[in-house]
Structure formats: structure tokens, C-alpha cells
Amino acid sequence: MPGRAIISLQRVDKRFATGVTALEGVDLHVAEGEFVSLLGPSGCGKSTVLRLVAGLERASSGEVASPALGSNPAADTAFVFQDATLMPWASVFDNVWLPLRLAGESRGDSRQRVLDALHLVGLAGFEAAFPAELSGGMRMRASIARALVTRPRLMLMDEPFAALDEFTRHKLNDDLLACWQAQGFATLFVTHSVLESVFLSERVLVMGARPGRVVAEVVVDEPYPRGAAFRESPRYHAACARLHAVLATLHAPVDEVLR
């Protein structure tokens, strides 16, 4: 693996108070600047991995290392949720300003960085709008701008585009890759879409359920920038087919057990 690890999970278990074992023996590493997807069915613990990495949950056993768990108070980690999670009472500007504001930065000092982040996600000119006045795709753009505004080293994304239509999703995939290439943050991207994970990532980690664990790794060795041409290319479809084949071998025994 190239580069120094920014995230590392070793033999991580997570059991909830309800007795449910969400994760068992998870080993996972993400290098600085790397784009990695976590792919798996609902309930396989993908989101739990993100929450552990963000420091929002504690592992029951094993070791988790990530910038969010360090003592450095700088906002090195950004989190994008499945819904845009904007504050409905605040303008787009105030929403994007939030991470800087919580770090004690004044509105005036933050202004340029907020406008830059909005520009980067294609929302220039919308800073005075309220979330209720935006479309779902634009709200997600605002959410990504809020994540980018601190110039994080690590971006955690929890199925951010799952609720969007396909056109909007493709556009946001393209724009996310552009931001990633411009800013060089490492990304851990949770999705249940094979197509999306292959399009975006350098590596796809496949997770299995009950208990949640990483069961396979597929490397997508294709150059960036990737755009519409890549999405049409045979190489993209071949990579998707390879991932589908891996998923098929993994799920076969599960089906037999269920039968």
C-alpha cells in the first residue's frame, strides 16, 4: 500500500449494548490521500466502521487509529451523512461556516474560505439561500462544502448520494473526484452501489454481514481523472463485472445457509 496510513483498524470488534455484534475482527487501512470504498449490504456494519473512525463510537476491542481520535483539536476529519444534515434555520453560508465557527473563527475571517468551498461544489451565489429552498442535490453540495471548508485530511462519507436520482448522482460523483484531486484528502466512502464504488475508488473493500467484517478487497487500477468517458469505457464495465463476481462467490454460501 502506498503512503502512510491515516486510518488503521486492527482486529476491531463492536458489540452494542443490545447484544448485537456489529463488527468482528475488522482489519482495515487507508493511506493518506487514498480513496477507498466500503461496499456491502444493509446492516453489515459499514456505517459503524465510519462512526468508529470518526470517534462517535468506541470499539469493544481491537485498535482504531484515526485523526479524529487524536488530541489535535484541528478539524482534520469531515463527515458527510446520507441526508444533507444541514441546519434548516441557517442560510447556506452559515451552514458551511459552522465547522470554522465551532473552532472559534469569526464570520469575517471565515468568509473567503466559505465562499471558496461553495465555489468548489458549484454553489457560488447560493450563500443566502435556506436549505428548504434548495433541491436535494444542491443540499448535498452544501453538505460537502461544509465538509471541505476546514480542508480536512480525511473525509468520511456515509452513502451520501444514495437518496439522489442517477443524473444528480453521476454529476456529484464527478465533482467529488475533482475536489478529492484538488485537495488530496483521504476518503472512506460507504456505499451499497457497485457502480459507484468502482467509479470513485482506488480500492473497494467488500463487507459481509452477521457479523460485519471485511471479506474481500478489489483494486481498481485505473488512472484519474475519471469522467464520463471512463463511465462508458469497457475497462470500467470489466472492473464492475470483476467486483460482481467477487460478490457472487461471497454470497453463494450465505444463500445456502439460509435455504
Binding site: F79, W89, L102
Partner: protein, 258 residues
């Protein structure tokens, strides 16, 4: 365009029609004014007696808004304490429910015995009625913050004060405003009810005691005149809190979307 105008004017037209029918009924059927005064007579009585009624009106307003202010302060403070400690809420919420379910008419005579100052007793009665909606709505509102936003505030290491000011208070605002709308009307009802009970002792100058006093003398038009002031006050409270709600929530909350 014409239909829209009619739609807008329909409440006023309805009211005017009703008043006209009332006026016609009284005149045509020769109903004596001590049984049912005509609307014009009520207005004339109000104008003639405004000097003496205004003092009572002011007293009732003071009780109403005093009780509402105390309900807001008390409700928000207690709700904040409940939000900080589930244990305290568990222990104390039943007490708040007892306050809420006790009819104020039933408890007012006791309060008048125990509380020396009549004004204070009236305030307490109206406060009992107005307090609960604000408390329960604010408790609900302080819990209503989006769990993902809470996580975001944790991720960015927000201080407790930042979390309160930037997340919990704005999340609770629509709930608080809904409670305020209910309590605004209730505090007037509480003030009048308590005065009704206290007014029988003849120690008071609120509008309710003027209604009682006029009823003893069969001055029916005066009863209606005082009632008119009460209704106007209630409607004004309702309108102003609706306007406040629109001003605070209009741009972002679904309850104020057209």
C-alpha cells in the same frame, strides 16, 4: 381575482352578517336590552363606560401578561433542567402533570386563602394554566435536535455552550413557539377564571369582576361591553403570536410554509 378577494374578505363578511342579524333580531322582536342588548348598544355602552372599564382592562392585561412571562421563564428554565438531567425529569414531571390536570377553578379558592395578596394569587392561578404547554413543548423541542447534527457538533468538538446556542435552542424554537401560542390564550383564560373566583369576594378590579358586578345589577349591556374587551384581547394575543411565529420560523420551518 374577484374570487380571491371574496376568499380573503369572507371572515369579515361572516362576522358583519352575524352582527347585522343580531341587530335585526333585537330590533324586530323588541327584545329588552337587559335580556339581549343589540351590538350597537354594546358598542355605545363600551364607549360611555370606557373610562371606568379601561382600569379593569389594564389590571386583567397585567395579570395575563405577568402570568405568561412567568410561564415562559419558568417553563424554559425547568425544561432546560429536564433536558440536562433525565433523572430530575423522571422525578418531577408528574408534579407538572398534577398542575396541568387540576382545574384552576377548583384550586383558586384555596390559593386565595393561602396567598395574602390577591394580585399574587391571581398571577399564580393564571400561571398554573399557562405553564404546562410551554414546559412540555420546550422539553420536546430540546430533544428534537437532529441526531446527525448532534454527531457533527461532537465531531467538531463543540463546547456545551455552542451546542446549546447553535443547535439545541434553534431546534427547540418551533416547539417553544407552538407552546407560546397555546399559553398566550390560556393565560388570559386563567386570569379571567381566577378573577371570577376572587371577584365574588369583591376585592378586585379586573374585567371579570366588572362582569360579575354588572350581572348583579342586571346591567347586561355592560356585561357584553366587558366581554367585548376580553374577546378583543384574546384575538389580539392570538394574532400577535401568529405574527411572531411567522417572523421567527417563516423562512425555514414547515409549520409556517404557505
Amino acid at each position: 381575482m374577484g374570487a380571491q378577494l371574496l376568499h380573503r374578505a369572507s371572515p369579515a363578511l361572516c362576522l358583519v352578517g352575524l352582527l347585522a342579524a343580531w341587530e335585526a333580531l333585537v330590533r324586530l322582536a323588541h327584545i329588552p336590552h337587559y335580556t339581549l342588548p343589540a351590538p350597537t348598544l354594546v358598542v355605545r355602552t363600551l364607549i360611555d363606560n370606557f373610562g371606568s372599564l379601561a382600569g379593569s382592562w389594564w389590571f386583567t392585561l397585567q395579570i395575563t401578561f405577568g402570568a405568561l412571562a412567568l410561564a415562559v421563564v419558568g417553563g424554559v428554565l425547568v425544561a432546560s433542567v429536564f433536558a440536562l438531567s433525565r433523572g430530575l425529569e423522571h422525578a418531577l414531571f408528574p408534579l407538572a402533570v398534577v398542575l396541568q390536570v387540576t382545574p384552576v377553578v377548583a384550586i383558586a379558592p384555596l390559593i386565595l386563602i393561602y396567598v395574602e395578596s390577591t394580585t399574587a394569587a391571581l398571577l399564580l392561578c393564571a400561571w398554573i394554566v399557562a405553564f404546562f404547554p410551554i414546559l412540555s413543548n420546550t422539553v420536546l423541542g430540546l430533544r428534537a435536535a437532529d441526531p446527525n447534527l448532534r454527531d457533527l457538533f461532537r465531531l467538531y468538538r463543540a463546547s456545551p455552550w455552542q451546542r446549546l446556542r447553535l443547535l439545541l435552542v434553534p431546534s427547540a424554537l418551533p416547539y417553544f413557539v407552538a407552546g407560546l401560542k397555546i399559553s398566550g390564550g390560556l393565560s388570559l383564560i386563567g386570569a379571567v377564571t381566577a378573577e371570577m373566583v376572587a371577584g365574588a369576594a369583591g376585592r378586585n378590579t379586573g374585567l371579570a369582576s366588572r362582569i360579575l358586578e354588572a350581572s348583579f345589577r342586571t346591567e347586561t349591556p355592560k356585561m357584553f361591553a366587558a366581554l367585548l374587551l376580553l374577546v378583543a384581547t384574546g384575538v389580539a394575543i392570538f394574532w400577535s403570536f401568529n405574527a411572531l411565529s411567522r417572523a421567527l420560523l417563516g423562512r425555514w420551518h414547515a409549520s409556517e410554509k404557505q
